[in-house]
Symmetry: C2
Subunit: 168 residues, 2 copies
């Protein structure tokens, strides 16, 4: 298979995985495109490559920058902005994990903890409820812990398998 087709297939595949995990398809595709490209791309180039509008590119690139996984790069003599995604996927994984943990999981844990404490009723039903909260907190907490461990493992651990970032 030639490189161009492979890139397209990879971008599609990645986009559809993203979709089923609640991540905007375009966002995943922009990111995939940047990862697969050995130079910084302008908004126009992204529009062209993915056949999407300027507004869409702008919004999604900005979101990726917010996530901290894409950055602007200035190109000498060019007025336009260019964008890069660093190719160390491990970093990306860490970033995304941290962000989602903070934004989505932790607030939920907080609510569940409050609920556990706030229900002081003495019925069997209330007991069941408190136990449920406790169990959910256990599992979610364990999951959170797993992620944290993975995040901290850095440099060591499975990292040895990684192809190091190609500096540009």
């Amino acid at each position: 298979m030639n490189l161009e087709d492979a890139k397209i297939k990879y971008i599609q595949t990645w986009g559809s995985l993203a979709t089923s995990w609640g991540i905007n398809k375009t966002m995943a595709q922009v990111h995939a495109l940047l990862l697969a490209t050995n130079k910084a791309l302008s908004a126009d180039e992204i529009m062209e490559a993915l056949k999407i509008s300027r507004g869409n590119v702008n919004m999604n690139v900005r979101a990726l920058i917010d996530w901290g996984i894409v950055r602007k790069e200035f190109v000498a003599g060019e007025r336009k902005e260019f964008f890069v995604a660093d190719k160390d996927i491990w970093e990306l994984f860490k970033q995304v994990t941290k962000e989602r943990k903070k934004r989505e999981i932790e607030p939920v844990l907080k609510v569940l903890e409050e609920l556990q404490n706030d229900v002081s009723e003495d019925s069997e039903d209330a007991e069941v409820f408190r136990k449920l909260m406790k169990d959910i907190l256990s599992v979610t907490g364990m999951f959170n812990g797993l992620l944290e461990k993975a995040i901290k493992a850095d440099e060591h651990w499975l990292l040895s398998n990684f192809t190091k970032l190609i500096k540009r």
Copy 2:
């Protein structure tokens, strides 16, 4: 806070977490409701509790049964079907993880592997691409491995923290 309000808040919270992870809100809420209820519920009771239509209940309960995390239960002398979610959240976590792994992650890994092998071109770009595939496979594979480990840890490990399933 009284139990009813707490249940409602919990069901809402859980539903919104589900939404941001690409899981249907109603599905998560039906499941949350069943978990928080100390008896099997009929379709009518679910409709009433969540204020949703019969069709919606039917579809989502069926989906939950497909996931293997809700089951039908027969009640003596009743013609209706009743539904229960087992309260061992650990089991649930394992089931959901296994299912999503199988349905969503593994096919993607397969595509990426193929792409890695199929691109035989010799340019620097192709090299970058192959490295990217390798890295993505590493991370995804590691993640998969983590989940697998967690799934297998069963009985031992963090499980000791769990409130055991209340048999009904």
